[in-house]
Amino acid sequence: MEKSLLVKVWVLLVLLTISSALVGNNFPHYRYIIAIIIGLTLVKFLGISFFFMELRKAHAFWKTIIILYLFIFSTIAILIF
């Protein structure tokens, strides 16, 4: 059961990687395109940390701190562009 969930997450992560590469290469770099690329990165980051690293089973503190980190990183990145 848990292993099939890992397979699904892996397939999703690969598809998101291909999507972000296609978006980055084929669209002009307006702010919303950059926001989409950063957004796809955040989903991949959460996929690895919550499912591969099993953070979803960890104490709420660790989940909160990783989400906070991503929020700060992505907000600064989008504000820069």
């Binding site: 892996w10 990687t17 499912f51 089973k57 960890a58 104490h59 701190i65």
Partner: protein
């Protein structure tokens, strides 16, 4: 079938151990700050960053990202099988994990060679200074990760009692940290400029 368990709900025992998670956050903050700095410089010289970015091979970057994601997936499976005391499968997936890491390094080496041949070295411009520093620093982490995994593989092969769940989870967390860092590096260097 025996299973080994650590209570991950305890704040002091995140998967991989509290010390490793402190290290992971320090690394993420360091790389995050460097990437933000790169974006700030990129905003000041958009033309130069865009032209430089076009010198990079996005296909290799994408394949490398998929290689690391797949490697992380195999690592996660290896830990699950270890918890079920299925050491044979745990060892098999650990080998596949290392294979993903080696594939990444081979492709990165090829990419580095390509850049050096045409003179796009560390001092070429600001973009390539960030490119070399960030990716080389990441490669060093990956090499350290591969050494840790090789020791883990040796322990799995040698004696089933030698490898402990805490060590396996800590090694896995370090490996996943390399994935996480690359996930941040990839879009900033290869895609957004």
């Amino acid at each position: 079938m025996n299973t080994q368990q650590i209570n991950p709900k305890n704040i002091y025992y995140p998967p991989g151990g509290i010390l490793l998670w402190i290290l992971i956050f320090l690394e993420l903050i360091t790389f995050g700050a460097a990437l933000i700095a790169m974006m700030v410089y990129g905003k000041q010289a958009p033309e130069m960053f865009h032209t430089s970015r076009l010198h990079l091979n996005t296909t290799i970057g994408t394949i490398n990202t998929i290689a690391l994601i797949s490697s992380g997936f195999f690592m996660a499976l290896s830990v699950r099988y270890f918890k079920e005391n299925n050491l044979k499968k745990s060892s098999l997936f650990l080998k596949l994990t290392m294979l993903g890491g080696v594939l990444f390094l081979v492709l990165k080496g090829f990419e580095y060679y390509e850049k050096m041949v045409i003179g796009l070295t560390l001092g070429y411009n600001t973009f390539f200074t960030f490119y070399w520093l960030l990716t080389l620093f990441h490669v060093i982490h990956l090499l350290v990760g591969l050494v840790i995994l090789a020791f883990m593989q040796r322990d799995l092969n040698k004696n089933k009692t030698k490898a402990k769940l805490e060590d396996v989870e800590a090694s896995a967390a370090f490996w996943h940290m390399c994935d996480l860092i690359w996930l941040l590096i990839f879009p900033v260097i290869y895609l957004i400029f």
